[in-house]
Assembly symmetry: C5
Homo-oligomer: 308 residues x 5
Amino acid sequence: MIIYNAKDWLGALRHFHTSYVIRILLRRVLLVGAYGALVTFIDQHRVNIDLPIDGTFFSLLGILLSLLLVFRTNTAYDRFWEGRRQWGMLVNYSRNFAVMMDAILLDSDRENRQFFARALSNFAVALKGHLRTGVNITELEETGGNDRKALAQSKHVPSRIAALLMRRLQKLKQQRVLTDGDLITIRTYHQAFLDITGSCERIKNTPIPFSYSFFIKLFITLYLLLMPLVLVETYAYFTVLATILAAYALLGVEMIGDEIEEPFGLDCNDLPLNQISQTIRRNMHEILMSELPVAQQTQLEGEYQKVN
Amino acid sequence: MIIYNAKDWLGALRHFHTSYVIRILLRRVLLVGAYGALVTFIDQHRVNIDLPIDGTFFSLLGILLSLLLVFRTNTAYDRFWEGRRQWGMLVNYSRNFAVMMDAILLDSDRENRQFFARALSNFAVALKGHLRTGVNITELEETGGNDRKALAQSKHVPSRIAALLMRRLQKLKQQRVLTDGDLITIRTYHQAFLDITGSCERIKNTPIPFSYSFFIKLFITLYLLLMPLVLVETYAYFTVLATILAAYALLGVEMIGDEIEEPFGLDCNDLPLNQISQTIRRNMHEILMSELPVAQQTQLEGEYQKVN
Amino acid sequence: MIIYNAKDWLGALRHFHTSYVIRILLRRVLLVGAYGALVTFIDQHRVNIDLPIDGTFFSLLGILLSLLLVFRTNTAYDRFWEGRRQWGMLVNYSRNFAVMMDAILLDSDRENRQFFARALSNFAVALKGHLRTGVNITELEETGGNDRKALAQSKHVPSRIAALLMRRLQKLKQQRVLTDGDLITIRTYHQAFLDITGSCERIKNTPIPFSYSFFIKLFITLYLLLMPLVLVETYAYFTVLATILAAYALLGVEMIGDEIEEPFGLDCNDLPLNQISQTIRRNMHEILMSELPVAQQTQLEGEYQKVN
Amino acid sequence: MIIYNAKDWLGALRHFHTSYVIRILLRRVLLVGAYGALVTFIDQHRVNIDLPIDGTFFSLLGILLSLLLVFRTNTAYDRFWEGRRQWGMLVNYSRNFAVMMDAILLDSDRENRQFFARALSNFAVALKGHLRTGVNITELEETGGNDRKALAQSKHVPSRIAALLMRRLQKLKQQRVLTDGDLITIRTYHQAFLDITGSCERIKNTPIPFSYSFFIKLFITLYLLLMPLVLVETYAYFTVLATILAAYALLGVEMIGDEIEEPFGLDCNDLPLNQISQTIRRNMHEILMSELPVAQQTQLEGEYQKVN
Amino acid sequence: MIIYNAKDWLGALRHFHTSYVIRILLRRVLLVGAYGALVTFIDQHRVNIDLPIDGTFFSLLGILLSLLLVFRTNTAYDRFWEGRRQWGMLVNYSRNFAVMMDAILLDSDRENRQFFARALSNFAVALKGHLRTGVNITELEETGGNDRKALAQSKHVPSRIAALLMRRLQKLKQQRVLTDGDLITIRTYHQAFLDITGSCERIKNTPIPFSYSFFIKLFITLYLLLMPLVLVETYAYFTVLATILAAYALLGVEMIGDEIEEPFGLDCNDLPLNQISQTIRRNMHEILMSELPVAQQTQLEGEYQKVN
């Protein structure tokens, strides 16, 4: 994710290179511009291109395309925001869980405090890995009993950590540390972990239906191919400028949509899962008064910075 | 569902044939194009067609139609996404249920572990069948006591499996394996199963109101019939191209909407219920440490693949 | 509700007469067409009508009107869908309630099983009546102790049935059939019944604000009255065709919105409350293994059928 | 709120005077029309006004303005509908609360039955006053122990009634009338009362941001001021008609939005809080079998009636 | 936040200076106007600028831009409203918590009553600081045991206060003041505090993706730069007026969006967090009958007032 100052208009324009997708977009816009230039050259110097398609009909298609693109943008942003909300909930429920265990566990119960601080941290870190390129076991902390080794063999690490947490809760109930009433509340927090996992997997694994994606891409392609042929008669050399503007607008909306609709990757508009999971890790150890093994504070300096 | 790479523009265009609805669409577009050609032929070579309807009025109708189509698209996508969310919740609640039973049941309690692993798997498999062409009893696993035979006679298999689960929970409570507090939590998971069933049935059985569907279809039909008559005077032979473009845009949005608004079928844009229910099955057996009878792993190779 | 096949384009067009609102619409469209014909006749044969209002300004008003109509459609559909969701939840919670009572009650406890099967069925049937033309007491089943007679005197039958259910639950608690923990869950199901009732009453009793409804109706009326006067100079006899098309589009969206925003009536686009409540009735008796007094299965044959 | 029949087109148009906002709107439209007439008069008889601003640019501004107005309408309606939903929930939770107390309290426990019937009724009545012009203590019923006098001194009457209810519940728990399990459920109902209060206060106290409101109002003002200057050259005397139409459309959407976004007042499009709170009052006394002190039944006769 | 009267049209227009963003907007509009004047001057007196770009194509781009701006507005307003809802929930849950503790604690238990009144007030005040410029420890009240000093060292004050509350609840449970059943309810209130904190942090820390923000800003910049060049030929001196109008519309929507999408600052459209947290503080002390140390009542006089 890029951290920026929304109200600084010039600043935003100056940092266009911070965004990978904007750079790709500008490259594609130039390509379409080159095609526009070719058409213009042919029309002006070789064969006269004279398509009797007038602006009104072409506008109408453009309006339908615009409406579809805004719908697409809306959908993509909803997915981005839902992903963000899920990770926000992970922060909340981790804190809720930790605050409650902190109140119930004795201050002297080092072992259990450490277990929960580490297991809750591990969950966030493992989910990050699970949604990106795979869980990196060395990022996880040892929760006792060689659990880390066992996790390395699990096919679904977050589920496994959730199961470990649930088993520990059950053990504490048998030891009468937790009452039935305590468990009713704690289990709703625990449940949230698997719900968040499932929701993130859903966003990751279910793109918008292929037919829509294809339909819009073909629509834009046809539109941009036709455009210089329609405009060249009246616009002459300005056809290139017009084509570039239209390509910027149409391709831009589509490409940004494509990028943010899958918010768990490492692209520069994706969510800073790494940063969030480190925040959770620090929070867990603070609340449960357990010492933090390795301090990994992301240092932020200035604006227009990427965090991952 | 088709699995694809949204950012690969050319790849998407090259795989249009993967989508059944896109192929039907192209066929219908050609049909409208043929009608456009016929009108053009008559105008140019036989009777001169001279409709004094100008672009402005025709555009206005087109804008209203575009707005309605985007509304329709929005509605259809909401249904698709709600269906997906319900199945995502089925994954979550199955896992929650299994993780909790795993913590409560003794590691040695093979019988109950197997019962829950199988009954929870059966629920997902039965719901898939229930929403598609009917429950295939041979896909279900035997949960003990000839239950499978009884299920074959049930009119509503998912409800029956839910009732079996509830009865087993009640038995475990009488055996003091489960406390009242445990049941308060487990029952919320159990409740989710029937809620999901009901929500999916609702999406399946309630299409958008017939009047809307009819209204939009008639609107598009009239629009496309009139279009070549309006355009032919100024566009001449390009009428065919314009008609094809308009038909692509209008029919395309409508048809994709029609397809994805019922997301539980076997069409290529429908949800991969089979894949999801197999995932649940593997998860249940893993979490409850019960051996999986028949391993059915869907193998995915390359991009642009259909999964059902 | 009309059951239809969304993907069958021609089939949909052929069954326009199935929908009452479509038939009314066509009648009103003809009326506006007649007005258009009158204006054209006067212009062509008597006084020349020459309004210097050009298309651009008129289009602009049309676009604002179109946007408002789509907003209106959206609102109406949301109400329709919310009504459907409430009845879907009624199905879910009835099943949840029944499945839980089935697990708790002894198989031999005929009396209580019958009570719950009948009272839960009665709730759905009474709510249907309450939202339509009034509760028909003869449709309800006797739940014991001359309750049916008492219900006939109640002003709000669904509330009364809910109170009967709650009292029976309390009695079962005093008889130690239900524990406090059981009641915590069952009461959330019970609560859902009154929540659903309230939500349906809200949809039924609160139309969109009168000012909006009036504003849009007057806007459309003025627009259609002015239209032939503006068009007649350039369109001549085709004014009639254009007026008919515009009337179809504008009146159609408005009228369908008016119809589906109140989804509990007996119109052909309304929800099949009768069918849903019969489904609940059969489900309740099946799950609680209580014999069903009178089998009322709605027989569906072919497509494009009305169910109420 | 005005009760009307949405499907009766002519009836709706005939009752425009029922709505205060529509009458104000028509007055403002006439004012703008007078301005348009003035501009036309000056142009035709004194100085020729010749603004070279063409329709296309002006249309474009109009489209952006239209989109903003529909966004504004959407927002206002969402607030209206959320307010309605909150009061619908108040009905639901009052009934849930009463039905549960009815089942738990002995039939002979007149005192507690009366307390809850009256306190629950008072809550709705007090909330109505709190959201309108202030709580009218004489509308409240005496719940025992001179509570009404104490309420008169409270700064936040609904909170105070909620506190009285909670204290009574606690007392009943100490008297072992209520168990811990009962309280878990009842407290969720009780919580709903304060949640509803807070949500209604939020809607009442937070208008849409001033900048938006100002921005749109200035936009419309500029647009309507400029309009006759742009149109007068081509439209001549019809400028007045066009200005009136545009003013109707633009001012209308804005004003209706302004009115319904604060749905708790006494305007004719506002919610019938008085009617709803009387319904709650009757329901509470019926369900708890407590006699109703003063019957205040709102009599509805015919359609197009105002209820407050 | 600015408190204003939405229905007072002229009043709203007269108070434009109350809003900082409106003043900045007017300044930027003048800047664009100056650029327009420069272009006009060059065209009329030096070199003739003759861009053959016609209105239709330019309109089409403008429509896409308008749609994107409305989408942007929608998104920004959703964030504003979600932020408001979170703080509304903070009011609700604080009241719920206090009302419940008031019923459970003895009237004579001054110490605990004061603790909860102060800790609950502190939470709201600390969250306000946390979301703005940092927690001002002197604004917090001493809850006993030198807690305030400890809070000064905490990195996340709201979490710390939540932990203190949870620990006190646990202590009361050990003292048998609270039962398990009480805690089940109170913990849902407690959980809400951390959920609200997390949600507000999410809104504050996650702006809309940089690519979108950049894309729209560049689009507007290009559009406004090109506009006078396109218009100057036909509009001559009126180009300045047209440019100013367009700049007002496009920049205005963007800037207001930028401002309200981060609703926790001290801008004049931001939420009155200070006022809300003082309301909570007064409510807490009233409900728990604990004396309020320092009365800080915000005095509101007249309309069009800023509250922060």
